[in-house]
């Protein structure tokens, strides 16, 4: 599933307010909860954190992809949080993370979940769009950048 199909401007937050892993994940979950996409906030948090405890999803180049399967959703849901300053998310390269892609999928929807993760991986490889997204000043602008990246062949 394409990021532009998964996300809307309402599911993107520019300027994350928190600075610890747990609180960032909760802040991302709050975005999808606000859109009525999650039935059980605590369950969603526990499911994402339980994956996070196996190995940090803080990757390289400022990208983090907290994700998990959860019965708290009935479709694949996602949110994007952006921090221009960067946050310590125990990333693989030890550098601060700037772009946080949250994905939560119901247990029986692994296909779309895998495809969405693959699209995030693809997006992450393009430093130009990564930087543009990190510097986006609004959720609308961030969404436009994602859409542009997809149509311009990242």
């Amino acid at each position: 599933m394409k990021l532009s199909h998964l996300l809307t401007p309402e599911l993107i937050k520019v300027g994350l307010e928190n600075s610890t892993k747990e609180k960032i994940i909760q802040e991302l979950i709050d975005i999808v909860v606000a859109q009525g996409l999650v039935s059980d906030t605590d369950q969603a948090f526990m499911d994402v954190m339980s994956r996070e405890l196996q190995q940090s999803t803080g990757l390289e180049a400022g990208i983090a992809v907290p994700h998990g399967k959860s019965t708290s959703v009935d479709q694949l849901v996602g949110a994007l949080g952006i921090s221009e300053e960067g946050i310590d998310f125990a990333s693989l390269d030890g550098k601060p993370s700037h772009l946080f892609f949250l994905l939560i999928a119901p247990p029986n929807m692994s296909g779309p979940h895998v495809r969405a993760l693959a699209n995030i991986a693809k997006f992450s490889q393009n430093s130009r769009y990564r930087n543009m997204l990190t510097e986006a000043s609004s959720s609308e602008e961030a969404y436009r950048i994602i859409k542009q990246a997809e149509t311009e062949d990242i």
Binding site: L92, P107, S110, G111, V114, A118, A121, E150, E152, I154
Partner: protein
Amino acid sequence: MSFKTRPEKIMVFVEANEESITAAQYAVCLARWLNCELYAVYVVDVKTLHDLLKAKIFVEMEEMDYQHDLEEDGRRYLNYVRDLAESKGVHIYTDLLKGDVVAEIQRKVEEIDVDLLVMGKLEEPESRRDFYYNDGERIFRRTPCPAIMVKEDEPVRLMYDQL
């Protein structure tokens, strides 16, 4: 592909979506009208799972877990397609494969000498990348045998129901 006066082997490419079911219904109709052997193939995309592991988005346990889920999806869809065929008196061979989706379909088409590949409607490409790298697009363009894409679901469903 050897010379034949009519298609003898039809293969339907099954994915976990509604479009594949429509394609399967059409393939069942074709197989019965033309008295063909019918095959249904689903490929578990383990290449993407490996890529996600390499990118460190997945941990090993997670890769295995998702592979298991995708295999279950594949079995469920193939069983459904088998029911569609058998309920119309058409025998069907089903195969759950693992690997690179495009390569596996191409290999299977050659292995069983398929005369006609049937697949579901593809999403409208939004970029050149979609056009060149989408698995369905690549299968449709690269398959060594004739291929048809089943576009309309309602007429096909009616056709299947009346078979």
